[in-house]
């Protein structure tokens, strides 16, 4: 059974229909990574609540750095993704379909933004912000890991709607 979608018969019909994408990412990889991230974010929330502000801030810095890695290098090259490829994927059946890495990469950027706000506010002395940012990022990562919810996809559409992204007509039809 071919893994890659072949649609030779029906080119996308809409004028601005997405160009053919080359999905190359096992969608279970980012979900696996989101699970690890969610657990660590929960630890940040716990540390923040118990008053271990320094530890909470340090762990959030590490998680923000990991989000930055995913956002810059791409979701396929995230450290958790490498862990998944090395140890988890060999034990699983081949994926039903492959995924375009752009949405999970965008989601990593969203995670970076949220955790970075927490880190900056934590650094200027607003300790509760660390826990709040971690809780917000946890909800997104948890929904991604458990329910396959793509917050990046949702936010991307809302940003397009509000005119902040994708402004102007498609350059190439």
């Amino acid at each position: 059974m071919p893994l890659l979608p072949a649609e030779p018969g029906t080119p996308a019909a809409g004028a601005g229909a997405p160009r053919p994408r080359r999905p190359d990412l096992d969608p279970r990889g980012p979900r696996f990574g989101a699970g690890i991230t969610a657990v660590l974010l929960l630890v940040v929330v716990f540390l923040s609540l118990t008053g271990a502000s320094a530890a909470a801030l340090s762990l959030l810095v590490v998680l923000a750095a990991l989000f930055a890695w995913g956002a810059i290098a791409g979701a396929g090259r995230h450290p958790w993704g490498l862990l998944f490829k090395r140890f988890v994927r060999p034990r699983l059946a081949p994926p039903g379909e492959l995924e375009n890495p752009a949405p999970p990469t965008f989601a990593q950027g969203v995670g970076l933004l949220v955790t970075l706000v927490g880190v900056v506010l934590g650094l200027v002395g607003l300790a509760p912000a660390v826990g709040i940012a971690a809780a917000a990022a946890f909800v997104a990562a948890f929904l991604n890991a458990v329910f396959d919810y793509c917050l990046g996809c949702q936010l991307y559409l809302l940003l397009v709607r509000s005119g902040l992204l994708g402004r102007g007509p498609a350059s190439a039809g």
Binding site: P5, E7, G9, T10, A12, A13, G14, A15, G16, A17, P18, R21, P23, P27, L42, V45, F46, L49, T50, G51, E97, E99, N100, A102, P103, P104, F106, A135, F138, V139, F142, L143, V146, F147, Y149, C150, G152, C153, Q154, Y156, L157, L158, V160, R161, S162, G163, L165, G166, R167, G168, P169, A170
Partner: protein, 149 residues
């Protein structure tokens, strides 16, 4: 905060996120019947392709949408297997106006148009193939609906 209380708060956070996820999942792929909508033309959705003689499946996508390619394959397959049914994918990435006009709040969102171009149903999220086929069967004037009478 007391560690036990902190642990309780953390568990409450997990429970809240689970509730959110369950609520989201229950709404995924659900069909909404659309009452009395004006007929659309291909130009309304920036499509260069003609609409189907029996029905048209209009799929709204963006470039950042993990489920759109899978939905595209499924809907294109349904359109291929049914004469007169056409699948049209519309990329909203550069068409914020269409996203606002059709009030698309998530991708993919699929509209089922009848032979006249009227929107008969709408699905937010990845639709199920069986649901799409059942709706196509029930469209007014479809061969299936005529035979059943």
């Amino acid at each position: 905060m007391d560690p036990i209380l902190a642990l309780g708060s953390v568990l409450a956070l997990v429970a809240a996120a689970t509730g959110l996820g369950l609520a989201w999942r229950a709404r995924q792929g659900r069909f909404t019947e659309v009452a009395e909508a004006p007929a659309l033309t291909p130009a309304d959705v920036a499509s260069t392709a003609q609409f189907g003689a029996e029905a048209t499946l209009v799929q709204f996508s963006t470039e950042h949408c993990s489920r759109c390619p899978g939905t595209h394959r499924m809907l294109a397959g349904v359109a291929r297997s049914r004469p007169g049914v056409v699948h049209v994918e519309v990329d909203l990435t550069h068409r914020a106006d269409l996203a606002r006009r059709f009030q698309v709040l998530q991708t993919p969102t699929t509209l089922i148009l009848d032979r006249t171009g009227r929107v008969q149903a709408r699905v937010g999220g990845a639709p199920h193939k069986a649901g799409i086929i059942a709706h196509l069967d029930d469209l007014p004037g479809s061969r299936h609906a005529t035979l059943a009478r």
